[in-house]
Symmetry: D2
């Protein structure tokens, strides 16, 4: 499944060069992943409260192609690119209109926090949701 996460660049996201301070792209990738998990039916806040499951980061990467400015409207398109037994890789493309601004990915582990944090096999139903094609939605 692909999920779209839309946001607006805030004043506090900019720096003295007049454009977005780059670590904010990782903040937005993190937000986009939480939105993705909500969209497939597993909001992170519930997942943690009910099952003590979280998805800590193993690696994150971003390539920057165009700068973003204050009050730009941005869409992040997120898709799970790879699923291993306990680890998944989610890619994020940043778009302003049609223009690709940046693209990145995160590698995260499906992890139980019941005792000491310990990676767990990703449940079959989560895996199925991540891999399902997007349904065509009439608007």
């Amino acid at each position: 499944m692909t999920n779209n996460y839309d946001f607006k660049v805030r004043w506090g996201d900019t720096d003295a060069a007049g454009i977005v301070f780059y670590p904010n792209f990782y903040k937005w990738m993190d937000e986009a992943t939480h939105e993705y998990l909500s969209a497939i039916g597993y909001p992170s806040s519930k997942l943690f409260q009910e099952q003590q499951i979280g998805c800590p980061i193993l690696e994150a990467n971003c390539q920057f192609k165009q700068p973003l400015s204050f009050e730009d409207s941005v869409r992040v398109q997120s898709i799970v690119q790879e699923i291993q037994n306990k680890v998944f890789k989610i890619s994020h493309v940043f778009l302003r209109g049609e223009k690709e601004i940046a693209k990145g990915y995160e590698v995260r582990a499906w992890t139980s926090f019941k005792d000491k944090p310990k990676a767990q096999p990703i449940p079959e139903e989560v895996r199925a949701k991540m891999l399902q094609p997007n349904q065509h939605v009439e608007v």
Copy 2:
């Protein structure tokens, strides 16, 4: 006691106006309070681990007089201005060299997190440390 907390303005602290984004002053007041607690012998990380005590914020205020820029060297002078039974007010003055840049305060409650968070009387020895005059230190 007065404590001095010195820091440097980072690139990420600035905004597109070329100066510091104002919420960062509150981040620095928070840091200055943690430094203050360390300086009187109660580092927050220990206080929480050993006694489940923290100091959540009740109110914070700041008045802004001069802007700060990238790589400015700044000193925050912190002093506990008022101590009530369970609540204290700590004031922070921001200086660049001799110049006063901003001044603010925080009101915080001495709080146990053992069960539900609950404000506690500030212990006598903490109170004494907060009120002690600065020792003259020969350098």
Copy 3:
């Protein structure tokens, strides 16, 4: 005029106490003010590009009543409380459902950045927009 700004608490807004790190409330007040200016017809990004006008902060205050947690839905109600010649005071109430979480205010100066930053009288039409009652909107 009153403006409502709705947002969701993000993972990165929380701290190790499991609740929102308090300086983020000031980030949200800043965002709410920019949304307010957009709502009355003066988006900050345009105001600056077309007229080199911005509204730097003189003072900000917040009182904290209830903590906020990850993925809470929050509304900020913003209203200009006072308008002087060059300075206005905007108050912000944070609500989760009906519950008041925090309330604060910002004092800002209407400022030209054409040469050296210099406060300007707030234009009559801006003043009128800030003071107009909310129109009743049938939904």
Copy 4:
């Protein structure tokens, strides 16, 4: 040259999992790069004021091995790994004591902001400073 940048984890750097929110590692890599440039004689603030030169990011990557907690003391070891004509790659290793916490890199372009931003050949003397071995310093 290798440069060491030492810092302490702040309360605001943590999240509700009790550890550092991962985008902060990129904030620290950015800080470490500015410290590196200062250490070889080109503080970013001067470089920009005097020559309108900055080093915008093209790509950043980080691999996370161990979490960091509040008030941890951390060292970032930064070294320029690769220098091309207009672009350099700087790697950053995060250490707590002897333990490797994370390692990452940034790819940045030496860029003139005189007119439109435009990448420039990295000057010979900068290149020489980046490549020089660390001098043995008697302490």
